[in-house]
Each structure stands twice: as structure tokens, then as C-alpha cells.
Assembly symmetry: C2
Homo-oligomer: 267 residues x 2
């Protein structure tokens, strides 16, 4: 593995990068996903522009296989089970629209350019290294430190995938020849309550979770799930971890991190 | 009027331009429309990226009103009368997808950014200065030089607007507060045969037109027309020229151009 760092937002950088590396395969994950602002921030206009520059350079320098990474927020959320071929896209945010826009444009590149293109649509994820302000990290931090965790009623149905499984699926997709949009998800919808209760059980603090103590987000759809037929049959892929295994890894990672922070504070 | 020229494809140029000019209003028309290649050429990925850079810079430097220019090729052409609110988009080309992508992304910019955005969708146009390889110029050149003009059966129904009327509509839209997609078209569908026969009558050479002598384009939809309710009622705009007036202007422009070319060759 050779690491090369590059600021894709710097004008002209994508072309210079691709010209110097001449990659055959490209898996493109760089967007603004800062919690609390990425849905609406105009930064993703710049990331869409940078993504287009990157794709254009990849085509111009003879790239063979490109995988872009999109989101379940591209779909029309008045539907409940998102199917790549049947569910219409109707993004409700700059972020979702930028992802959907890149997917649409890439999918219209003519076959005679000789590049094969897929578009991964990620749903929800959990796992080590997640931003501390997000749901599972905030619950784990509260519980491991003996505090109550105030959560919503937890009745929302979602699809959660361990981040390492998601990464594995993306790698497999990149070296496959499956084209077009592909949902990357567990295919096993669950209520958020099940996710949280598994987390709390692993932490050994089920009694500290207070369901319904947090109002939940306004306008949140009750059910957003993924049809994973393409992922399971065309890519022949399924997650390697159960929820219990994945959550155990996650809580252990947070135990390590909290211990490290305490050691740093004590030093 | 102050003209400033700028290569928007040059990295960083959009931000430098907007920073130096600080415009309140932006009407953005720059794309690749080279006949014969613009539908599929990846150049419009670069133009989409440049358009996003321009839009982002316009937002960042306090712009108030932006109008982007799209195309009837954003719509699903299995429909026949394109309505901004009812007809789904389903572009079938890189060009259409790039335009549709920009429209989608711009329409999701949150209202609190304080910028008002409209999206003009142009249909077919004719008039002085059109690329010589396109339909009306090639017919006019043949007829004015006494040659036959081989055209298709001319039964396709389209909406044609004189280019100066289109420019006037774009200017009016730019200084209005109408938001979202707005079809810019005559609202008077006609068969191509009517367009061509008007052209031939103005040239005084109706007998030189050979309908059906050219096969027409494969996969061309029989009917693509524009609903112009938003243009007519919300913008309160209608074209100023009849087809006969517009075509007379066009043919006269070609007479002048051909005379000039002959004079240059003779000199």
C-alpha cells in the first residue's frame, strides 16, 4: 500500500494526482460529512465539483473502473424499502442532491469511453471511530461513564451496517464488474431500540437507557430500509458480523479510547 | 456594460472572478454545446464542476439572484408536453444529466443562504449566428446557393423560439423573483416541416426542399413540446416575433454572411 495525500478541493489537484498515479481503479469517498451541518452546507457543492474533476481526470487518463459513494438520502423517503431500480430518487438536502447528481451524471457516460462505473449507496453505519456526537458514540460514552442516556422512543426502522463490513463491501464492489447503483446495507432492518438495547447490554448498563426522553428529530421518516438483492446476488456479498459481534467491537473500542483519554488527563 | 472575459474551466478562476466583480445577479450560460459531440462528451462533467464552483463562489460572496440555464433534454421524453412541476426528469445523455444535476443541487440550497435561484429550460431555438452545421443554417445555405436541401419527413413536433426572444426571456427571468425551473419556449408547437417551409418561402426557394430525402435521427421522439404557463403567467412574458418575422431576420443574416464570405474569397 502506498499512501498519497491530496487536497481534492485545491484547484487543479485532481488532474495532477491522477496524472502522476495513473490508477486503473478508483473508489471515491471524499465528501463533507461533518455532523450537524453536512445536510445543508454549500461545501458539498464544492465536493461535487471536486468529484467531477476527479472523474473527468480518471476518464482522461485511461482509468478502467470507478466506484462513487452515495447515500440512502438520494431516495424518495416516502418509500420505505429502497430498491436501486424501482425507487425514485428525490433528495431533500444539498448533500443528497449532490450525491444523486453525481450518480446521474456518471451513469450517462457512454460505454465507448471504456470505463466501468458503479455507485454504492450507503445506509446507516456504526462502529469504531465514529464521530463522538452521533447516536451510538453518545450512548456508549454515557453508559460507560455511568450516566443516563436519553434517547428517542427508538421505534424508527433503519438498516445499520458495521463500518468494517461496509468497507469490505466497497472493496469487493470496486474489484467487481457490477455497474450502476448498489445499496450497501445489512439487509436486516431493525428498530433503533434494538440497536440501542444491544449496545446497552454490551456496556452492561441496560438500566441507564431512557427511551422517549429525547424528542427525536422532526420530520424523521418512520421506516427507511434497503433492498439488498443486487448486493447479495450480483456481488454475492453479505455482512460478516452479527449485530452483537459488531457492537462488542464498537464498545471495546470506546473503552480503549475513554481509558486513553483518562490516562492523558491524569498525566 | 463592462465585459470581463474569464476561462471558467481554469482552476480557481470562478472564485477570483466573483471576488473581483462581486455581482448581485448571475445568469450562467457557459457549457459545451459543440454540435455533434456535446450530448456525450465528458467535457460537460468539467462544465458542471465549473458551474458548481461558480455557484459556490456566488453564494460565498453574497450574490442575491442566480439563473442557471438548462435544457428540455432534462425531461423524460416519453412525455410530450413538458411541465416544470409534473413531468419527471430522465436525461438520456451526459449533457442532459449534467444540466439536471445542477438544477437539482441548486434547488436544494437552503433558503437561509439568502440567494434566489431560477433554472431556465431552453427548448429549440433558431436565428442569426447559429452553428452552420445545424438544421436551419444548412437548409438556408443550400437554398440561397441554389442547391437542393435534403431534409427528413419533417413530421416531428417541436417548440422553436427565436434566439433573441430567448435572450430577452432570460434577461427578464434574471431580474424577476420567479424561482425554480421555468421553460423558455414559444408555447406554439409546430411540425419541423412548417419551420422548414417558412424558411424556404423566405428564401424564395420552396421547390428546392426535398422532404423525406434525409432519414432523420434514430430514436428521435415524435413530439417534444413545452408547457409555458410559468413563463406566460408568472413571468408575464411571451415572444415578440412571429415565426415569419424571426425567419426573415435569420435568412437576411445568412444573406449578409454569404455575401461577406464571397467578397473575402474574391479579394
Amino acid at each position: 500500500v502506498r499512501w498519497i495525500s491530496c487536497d481534492l478541493l485545491a484547484p487543479g489537484s485532481a488532474e495532477r494526482l491522477i496524472d502522476s498515479v495513473r490508477p486503473t481503479h478508483l473508489l471515491h469517498l471524499a465528501w463533507d460529512v461533518t455532523p450537524g451541518r453536512y445536510w445543508t452546507a454549500p461545501d458539498n457543492l464544492a465536493w461535487l465539483a471536486a468529484s467531477l474533476d476527479l472523474a473527468k481526470a480518471f476518464l482522461d487518463f485511461g482509468g478502467q473502473r470507478m466506484v462513487g459513494v452515495g447515500t440512502c438520502a438520494e431516495y424518495d423517503w416516502s418509500h420505505t424499502r429502497m430498491d436501486e431500480r424501482l425507487t425514485p430518487t428525490a433528495p431533500d438536502s444539498v448533500y443528497g442532491a449532490a450525491k444523486s447528481a453525481l450518480c446521474e451524471v456518471l451513469s450517462r457516460i457512454p460505454p465507448d469511453t471504456g470505463v466501468s462505473i458503479a455507485w454504492a449507496r450507503l445506509f446507516w453505519m456504526y462502529g469504531p471511530g465514529e464521530h463522538p456526537s452521533r447516536l451510538i458514540p453518545s450512548v456508549v460514552q454515557s453508559l460507560l461513564q455511568g450516566r443516563h442516556a436519553a434517547v428517542s422512543d427508538g421505534l424508527q426502522i433503519r438498516d445499520y451496517l458495521h463500518v468494517a463490513d461496509a468497507a469490505h463491501a466497497l472493496a469487493e464492489l470496486t474489484v467487481s464488474n457490477v455497474e450502476g447503483p448498489v445499496n450497501i446495507a445489512s439487509g436486516r432492518p431493525l428498530a433503533l431500540r434494538e440497536l440501542i438495547s444491544t449496545c446497552a447490554a454490551v456496556c452492561g448498563s441496560s438500566h441507564l437507557v431512557q427511551y422517549g426522553a429525547h424528542p427525536g428529530r422532526e420530520g424523521e421518516p418512520p421506516v427507511v430500509t434497503a433492498d439488498t438483492t443486487r448486493l447479495n446476488t450480483e456481488l454475492n456479498w453479505a455482512p460478516q458480523r452479527t449485530l452483537l459481534q459488531g457492537m462488542t467491537e464498537t464498545v471495546n473500542w470506546w473503552r480503549g479510547r475513554i481509558a486513553l483519554e483518562e490516562a492523558v488527563r491524569a498525566a
